[in-house]
């Protein structure tokens, strides 16, 4: 991948994206890969995708880096932070300096957690649906790099891909279907967290390690991560079958 030009990398990603958007694809896995693509193509340190639930509360659905520390940073944005602002306004914002006084006073808990994680710059792009946002794509840099306008267009395109994946549109009952699909993404996330806990306890590992093993098992067997998580919970999947660290 490193020998490809940037244009080649971008095309390769979009081809892969199009190939993945078939019937019955694994939504959470797809969004996680998309976060990984953001990190590679945009040269950022971390990326996450947040979705609003029916109460307009933002929830994390995928992240490039699923450590507890990063998830915490996304979770804090249910009541403050650039994602909440982007979700409300529907507008992208780039090159947000998380150390400056405006950011610190607007989002004290979020800015403090970001600094603890060594993150200095953030960018945020709306997941756009018609005239509003249904969530946000959040990018972070360890340093104070900035995104060029070309990078920003690419980031918005990747955010749009996330929205397309989330909302496989149908003509009839479009809104009903859209809300059901968003809800399914949020529920899947909670199921996966519960399964991470179960595996972590069985294996005496961290939830992060447990998740990596679960994800690789799902990939090997071409199963959805969320289905595997559900199988673990209702005991139709024997956790001894999953190779663990």
């Amino acid at each position: 991948m490193t020998t490809m030009s940037r244009e080649q990398q971008v095309s390769a990603v979009f081809v892969q994206v199009a190939d993945s958007l078939i019937d019955d694809f694994d939504l959470i896995e797809f969004l996680q890969q998309l976060c990984g693509h953001c990190v590679m193509l945009l040269d950022v340190s971390a990326a996450g995708i947040l979705l609003a639930d029916e109460r307009d509360i933002l929830q994390t659905v995928a992240a490039s880096d699923e450590t507890t520390e990063m998830l915490e940073l996304f979770a804090l944005q249910h009541d403050q932070g650039p994602c909440l602002e982007c979700y409300s306004s529907g507008r992208a914002r780039t090159n947000i300096d998380l150390g400056n006084s405006a950011a610190v006073s607007a989002w004290p808990a979020f800015a403090a957690q970001a600094r603890r994680s060594g993150l200095h710059t953030s960018h945020v792009f709306p997941l756009r649906l018609r005239d509003r946002a249904v969530g946000a794509l959040n990018l972070f840099h360890h340093g104070s790099q900035s995104l060029t306008s070309q990078d920003a267009s690419l980031a918005q395109a990747l955010a749009d891909v996330a929205t397309i994946a989330l909302l496989q549109q149908r003509d009839i009952g479009r809104e009903q279907q859209e809300k059901a699909q968003l809800q399914y993404a949020l529920t899947s996330r909670i199921t996966i967290e519960q399964a991470k806990g179960i595996l972590a306890e069985r294996w005496n590992s961290t939830p992060d390690t447990a998740f990596r093993a679960l994800r690789s098992y799902a990939r090997t067997h071409q199963l959805r991560v969320s289905d595997c998580a559900r199988g673990i919970i209702d005991q139709t999947l024997d956790t001894d079958d999953i190779p663990h660290p």
Binding site: R55, Q176, Q177, R189, T191, I192, G197
Partner: protein, 242 residues
């Protein structure tokens, strides 16, 4: 965003629920709302019903052992059939002919679930075919969310009281670490996820701590709870009340 009517219904969930099924049906633009609890993927108890059609439909599913409610319990995914005339005959081969006499042209079945914890199913029925609007979807999702939290605590009076005073109800439940800790606890104690979450909440209450802090301590193995911890302290610290 929730409608004002559904916000009021959610507030009332913790009191007498006599007229609520009818109010919900009106807000959701349907004729009937039925709520049933489940154990091990089987419908066990009909808690709410706003009319004979709803009860008959639920009884048919129970008797025949098939139907959208049972599918929802098995998969955890909602089923929205807003035009029953479009449903293939082999989808529910026994149920469809048996329900033909009931005035049901649209059917919406949603799990009462928190991730992999499934407590029951809400069924909304309408005699006319049309999808739910965006507003009706927001309201029904909030309703199943509210009912789920309500029933999660329903078998423990004291925990129920705690849930009622701690607004917002879903405090902490948007945090990954709480769900991870629930999974770990369920293995440690050999109990269901629902039971593990109750134990976690009860411990949090009796120790006057935040559920996120307690969950972080469990995940990082600084704290291990016993089954006894599911009993909240009879005399909780004053500052955690109200």
């Amino acid at each position: 965003m929730l409608s004002a009517e559904m916000t009021e219904i959610l507030r009332l969930l913790h009191g007498e629920s006599g007229a609520l099924p009818d109010c919900c049906a009106a807000v959701l633009g349907v004729d009937h709302v039925v709520v049933s609890l489940a154990v091990d993927g089987q419908i066990t108890e009909q808690l709410w019903s706003s009319g004979a059609t709803g009860s008959s439909f639920e009884d048919l599913q129970f008797t025949l052992g098939e139907g959208p409610g049972l599918d929802v319990l098995r998969t955890g995914r909602m089923i929205l059939e807003h035009d029953m005339s479009k449903v293939a005959a082999d989808r529910w081969p026994a149920l469809l002919p048996a329900m033909a006499h009931l005035p049901i042209a649209a059917l919406f079945c949603l799990p009462l679930a928190l991730g992999g914890i499934t407590l029951g199913v809400l069924t909304a029925l309408r005699s006319t075919a049309r999808p739910m609007t965006g507003q009706e979807m927001d309201d029904v999702l909030a309703l199943v969310g509210g009912l789920t939290l309500h029933f999660l605590a329903a078998d423990e009076d004291r925990v129920d009281a705690w849930v009622a005073v701690s607004a917002p109800l879903n405090r902490g439940l948007h945090r990954e670490v709480v769900h991870q800790a629930t999974g770990m606890l369920s293995v440690q104690l050999g109990v269901s996820l629902a039971r593990a979450l109750l134990t976690l909440r009860a411990y949090t209450y009796s120790h006057g701590r935040s559920i996120i802090d307690v969950a972080q301590d469990i995940v990082s193995r600084r704290l291990r709870l016993d089954e006894d911890d599911s009993d909240p302290d009879p005399d909780p610290p004053e500052e955690t009340r109200g």
